[in-house]
């Protein structure tokens, strides 16, 4: 069986995001603030934040009705 070969994705490393002029000020501030924290706690909180904001978006745009 051949090994999978993926195409090149957008690189999401810290330096790239901080240097990206299209990235929001909020995102850059959050990254800089998170870098001061314990990396396990920072990622754990970020995952919770992503899940919470996913739910918030669905509520705000009323996307929770089943089709």
């Amino acid at each position: 069986m051949n090994r999978p070969v993926e195409g090149e994705d957008e690189v999401l490393d810290i330096g790239t995001v901080l240097a990206d002029p299209s990235a929001s000020h909020w995102l850059k501030q959050s990254i800089e603030s998170a870098l001061q924290r314990d990396p396990v706690d920072a990622l754990n909180d970020a995952l919770v934040l992503a899940a919470v904001l996913d739910g918030h978006l669905r509520d705000a745009l009323d996307l929770n009705d089943s089709a």
Partner: protein
């Protein structure tokens, strides 16, 4: 020292919602998309992938129809956009199943019936708008004239509902059955609108061809008639 990871109250707090999120509308940042062999394996058939960064991590969707979904998307999503992806329907297809030996050589192949998913991939605002339109169609109290004025794109949907109401009034005696019939019609129509399927369009009847030189010209369009 690192604190203990916090799980419990945050995980699967709304399992019904989580299930729907997986099956109904996947939301994420569009990372990349393109043609590739299925699962990026050289011995698999050509397919198309869409990679999203979701709140639960990266997800890669596979399906030949994803290319059409992106090319024909109303909102023309681009890499970096927040998009929604939803399986809108399935179509029956015949696929060739290849059986290979340990070295990957095809030793036999056979045809089998399968279903291909038809996708809708749009910027996330598209689904919000469709959810809003679907609610308008479902709303029994809505005044049709007002609604058509506010949402001309829903004209055909409202006309279909009106036609169904007239059909039910003529053909279905029992009021309970009539109400259930209308509920099904509105539910199906709202469901397909919310799914992101193309909005129905009003088709004008083509006037019958006539060779008579004295035939009357077709009447001028009233203001209510749609234009194309």
């Amino acid at each position: 020292m690192a604190q203990q990871p916090r799980n419990g109250p945050y995980s699967e707090r709304r399992p019904d919602l989580a299930r729907r999120r997986g099956e109904e509308l996947l939301i994420g940042r569009l990372i990349s998309h393109g043609r590739a062999n299925y699962q990026f394996r050289s011995d698999e058939d050509a397919s198309y992938y869409v990679k999203l960064l979701t709140s639960r991590g990266p997800r890669t969707l596979w399906g030949k129809d994803l290319e059409r979904a992106l090319t024909e998307a109303e909102t023309q999503p681009r890499t970096g956009d927040l998009v929604g992806a939803r399986r809108a329907a399935r179509e029956a297809v015949t696929v060739t199943v290849k059986e290979r030996d340990v070295e990957g050589r095809v030793v036999s192949q056979r045809e089998r019936h399968a279903h291909r998913s038809l996708w809708v991939v749009e910027k996330v605002g598209f689904f919000a708008e469709r959810a809003r339109l679907a609610r308008r169609v479902r709303d029994e109290q809505v005044d049709v004239r007002e609604a058509v004025r506010a949402h001309p794109e829903l004209r055909s949907a409202f006309l279909s509902v009106r036609a169904a109401e007239e059909f039910a009034a003529r053909k279905i005696q029992n009021p309970g059955d009539r109400a259930r019939f209308m509920e099904l019609i509105k539910g199906a129509m709202a469901g397909s609108i919310q799914n992101g399927e193309p909005l129905p369009t009003v088709r004008l009847k083509t006037p019958a061809k006539t060779s008579s030189p004295t035939a009357k010209p077709p009447p001028e369009k009233s203001q209510d008639e749609p234009t194309r």
